[in-house]
Symmetry: C2
Subunit: 249 residues, 2 copies
Amino acid sequence: MVSSDRESVTAALVVIGDEVLSGRTKDRNIGFVAERMTEIGVELREVRVVSDDTDAIVEAVNALRARYDHVFTTGGIGPTHDDITADSIAQAFGVPIDVDPRAVALLKERIAEADLNEARLRMARIPQGADLIPNEVSKAPGFSIGNVHVMAGVPTIMQAMLWALIPKLETGVRIMSRSLSAGVKEGDLAGPLRALDEAYPTVAMGSYPSWDEETGFTTTVVLRGRDAAVLDEAENKAREMLESIAVTG
Amino acid sequence: MVSSDRESVTAALVVIGDEVLSGRTKDRNIGFVAERMTEIGVELREVRVVSDDTDAIVEAVNALRARYDHVFTTGGIGPTHDDITADSIAQAFGVPIDVDPRAVALLKERIAEADLNEARLRMARIPQGADLIPNEVSKAPGFSIGNVHVMAGVPTIMQAMLWALIPKLETGVRIMSRSLSAGVKEGDLAGPLRALDEAYPTVAMGSYPSWDEETGFTTTVVLRGRDAAVLDEAENKAREMLESIAVTG
């Protein structure tokens, strides 16, 4: 990772695929990218899921690459006619795209020359000026162009690509978080939590209710910040606050 | 459901929550909304995940409500200071917002008057002109204003709200889908599948590879369309195509 002096380095993710929007496939990439970004000190600020449509991909990528430090995409880089991500990215950047000899060389490590048909060569189409992102799972590479990182949709392959990419990403100061299980209802802690949130402007505080038929409602309070000492102090105050509510409530 | 003569009725979803973007919570609402929309003949065209930030919510909701027939939101309608969805929606529509007596009446079915503090009354803040969306799980209502439907983030509550909402939604002609398990690799079926896709312009065809360490790669071909007879014919052709590849491959 390329640590920067900047406190905040931001990212967005574009998930490309009709199969996610139809509900046929349940996305597993958003959560994985989100967790890795949090670990390395990059703030994932926005995710968009768009269909296999060139205009939709171009619009989302161009809107997000202007606004965030890194943009990741997942999906649509396979060999079939609905795999249009690489061509859409070339269009978004206004650069030519063609079969890239570096990508062909990677494919040949896995695929016999006789099987390297026109469809499979689609997987070697890379926009001009892009760097390849290797993956050991399928060999077919992703690529980075500008601040946009194009990865596969199959989770195991996407994960291999993201691990390959992470050492090269600019990162910020890692955000730490503390979770407190609150033995009280959200409506009882909301007032005191708001007061605490205002007292610690560098600590973001949230409360997350969950519910299931067996245990009923529970609430988790999460504090997030970049300064461990301030976070420790806020955590202690939050713990005292929750205990006092539990006693009086 | 309010069936319409229109073939295509569209929708978008805005998932609101820092906890999804940080990876702490794994979203389970996208898949549920996607499946229900497919079932009732509404095309989910786009999903955005945005943070607990008024500007981000207003921008996403205004962009999407201008473009799609229905917009759903999930998250941010609880009692705490980071629950800002209702106020953000009022801002997006440029209407006033206040504690709504209809919503207070619903809360009183579950919460004792003495416990109905300022924080809990936040859950009764409803933009002027909105209709309530009831839910039997927590009683705290969602609401619909214009073509925007605001629901809870907790999956069980969101699901109760969506079931309450579905009978009122305008829907289109249901899209049917057929899945074929392809015993061949995606790179071998890509060429013939493209030809088939071109021969059936009203049937959308996709192929979805999956991979795990035990079974290696598998491919599923999915055909989607609104005309059962055409879909049957395309499915038969696709089956023949896959069999011929398996024999010669």
